[in-house]
């Protein structure tokens, strides 16, 4: 069974379009994240939700809007796509294991290509 799943795996679209990426986790974790990995493989956090509440919102253009309908799902909607949005987007979830220790599990990623 897949722990963290994302759809679609690949997304090719034109500039100016609006697109969504979906994420689901079946681990029962309370916290979910969206990360962006650029062409140099640098992984940067974008957003995080804890029990459907936004707790981390990095300096991300407001064209990006996360939505968490329940604690098992975290979607990412992107408006007016730009060339610079091309990257691999990873969803992740985490849960406290013991005091101070979180274990993070990543989805397989969505490769977004904007042409």
């Amino acid at each position: 069974d897949t722990a963290v799943s994302q759809t679609p795996k690949y997304l090719v679209t034109q500039m100016g379009n609006d697109k969504s990426i979906k994420c689901e986790q079946n681990l029962g974790h309370d916290t979910m994240y969206w990360y962006k990995q650029d062409s140099k493989k640098f992984l940067k956090i974008m957003f995080s939700y804890n029990n459907k509440e936004l707790i981390i919102n990095e300096t991300v253009p407001n064209r990006f809007s996360p939505k968490s309908p329940d604690k098992a799902h975290l979607n990412l909607h992107i408006n007016s796509l730009e060339l610079g949005d091309s990257a691999v987007y990873f969803c992740a979830s985490s849960q406290v294991v013991t005091s101070g220790i979180f274990e993070q599990y990543f989805g397989p990623g969505t490769r977004l290509t904007v042409t």
Partner: protein, 111 residues
């Protein structure tokens, strides 16, 4: 902005050799994790270290957290082709759910 610098950036070695990857920051982290990522997949958690000076071993991999909790190292003994991948360290900011990821080390082990 907290940064985690990894070195080396790229490493290509022969099977059987030993190697060490470093993860350095000027900031203190409450815990630090190491991940391995293979092409087309998400990062997979290898280990979490919490206490300054802590050493953890995972088969041929040895992880160490610096005494001041600002740096860490990953040592691989007798590397195998299956160790090939992108190694990422990630530090957790105290009191938050936020992880700062390192710049990554791409390891290639040749048979």
């Amino acid at each position: 902005t907290q940064l985690l610098e990894q070195s080396p950036q790229f490493l290509s070695i022969q099977e059987g050799e030993n190697l060490t990857v470093y993860c350095n920051s000027s900031s203190v982290f409450s815990s630090l994790q190491w991940y391995r990522q293979e092409p087309g997949e998400g990062p997979v958690l290898l280990v979490t270290v919490v206490t300054g000076g802590e050493v953890k071993k995972l088969k041929r991999l040895t992880f160490q957290f610096g005494d001041a909790r600002k740096d860490s190292s990953l040592h691989i003994t007798a590397a195998q082709p299956g160790d090939t991948g992108l190694y990422l360290c990630a530090g957790k900011q105290h009191g938050t759910y936020k992880y700062i990821f390192g710049t990554g080390t791409r390891l290639k082990v040749l048979a």
